[in-house]
Symmetry: C2
Amino acid sequence: MLIGPDGRVHASAQAPTPVGDGPEAVVAAVRVFVRELAGAAEGIVTAAAGVVVPGEVDAAAGIARYSANIGWRDVPLGALLGEDLGVPVVVEHDVRAAGVAEVVLGSARGADDCVIVVIGTGIAAVLVSGGGPVHGATGLAGELGHIPVRPGGEICACGQRGCLETYASAGAIARRYARSGGEPSSAVEIVARLRSDPIADRIWAEAVDALADAVIILTMTMDPSVVVLGGGLAQAGAVLLDPLRAGVAAGLTWRLPPRIEISPLGAKAGRYGAAVLAWRSAGVTDFSAWTLE
Amino acid sequence: MLIGPDGRVHASAQAPTPVGDGPEAVVAAVRVFVRELAGAAEGIVTAAAGVVVPGEVDAAAGIARYSANIGWRDVPLGALLGEDLGVPVVVEHDVRAAGVAEVVLGSARGADDCVIVVIGTGIAAVLVSGGGPVHGATGLAGELGHIPVRPGGEICACGQRGCLETYASAGAIARRYARSGGEPSSAVEIVARLRSDPIADRIWAEAVDALADAVIILTMTMDPSVVVLGGGLAQAGAVLLDPLRAGVAAGLTWRLPPRIEISPLGAKAGRYGAAVLAWRSAGVTDFSAWTLE
């Protein structure tokens, strides 16, 4: 997205990530995409750019440290894209950027203590305490996808057992559905079959149960006022939200649950976060006029 | 303890809590105890006092809101003790005060991101992120004892199932040991029987496993540099620390574990925390000279 300092969207584009062709192909595709987007709107001069990527990110150095899915290591994305565009480039973790967007203009607007859970191919979270993000001692806070919610359970790609991500990510839902005898399908297709396909119902219920336990754990440890669900899977809407709210309330016997909301930003959260971070790097501090388009 | 601004201990005393006699008796006993302690050292003039209590505490108002164990509600301890002593009195939650002591002069000295887990009759934690404590939206952060580490597991006094506290607190260890056919014993007695009593070994291993999962969860979400174990059960030492470190390392396949240490403050953590908070309220900011006595 090409966004002005007032939040106005001047251009928008999407392109698939050529993951199968190796990390060099991804870097090359990102460079072409960003150059084209920067020139997509007549008369618009780019002041700064934000790019968000999965995996480990060294935001201060502008380096994409590692991504298992993409396969890259230590890619100096900030420097490469900065050369292409001739403007400062902010590099950030996709989920942290989405968290920034939720607090600045989404469901957690103004919340000092909140959690943003992003459910897509994997699961990650942004924890906000006292108005600031929790980074952790080594910058690895928020790895919610790898908390053991089913101790001794199914093995995760990370090598641990019973990780949240192994039950409740879009990838896990698709994999567990196919393994249970369902026709190979995406998580979105499986959600569309709820209430007419018992396998879909069971796999979905197990995913929601695991998510409910994760939200209970976050509530007990962090005590957020609101938990925002983002990422592709959150677009499932009420079939996710209703049983999740019920599961969390049922598991919290002696305290009120936090609000649980679906992100109004959806898949755009990462992009809006990138835009907010880019404009912040260019000196913009007031985003109160930004609305969602 | 009567402590100077330089950390020197001028007097120290202990008294049992008359819990069986109702909340009024506890308040009366605390008032007598504090008055006597304040006058216990010749020539020492009290500048401020800190008192730490379990349960819910409104530190800003100096009020002990609620304790299930003591049975009190809304006791204005700060005002009552302030009248008795004629100096400002800080009231704080015992576990939060212990956390303050660990960061100021214990195993977490200087750590900006750390977790203090206090294991006694129950289990609670102080989470520190970016140098400051995590309070949460309603002041209820750190309720580590009630995270569901064994989903669908044993029922907890709180009404939830599979809570950490149901497996790993001193009370749970004693209860589970007796229920498994062991002679009714305290957790300390059970620890003394390790390697000679198979029931003790099994109950202890299950407690340590549950704690390891909790530390893994905290590591994934908060990314602390150090996890400090305090409270009575932490005094078990190596029989706790060695298998816990091994369990956490085994469960973290793709990242290094945080340091895990036993609190050097032990049962004195809460008292040192009360002293630090009292001196802070009197304007002292430098505690670098304080050592443990």
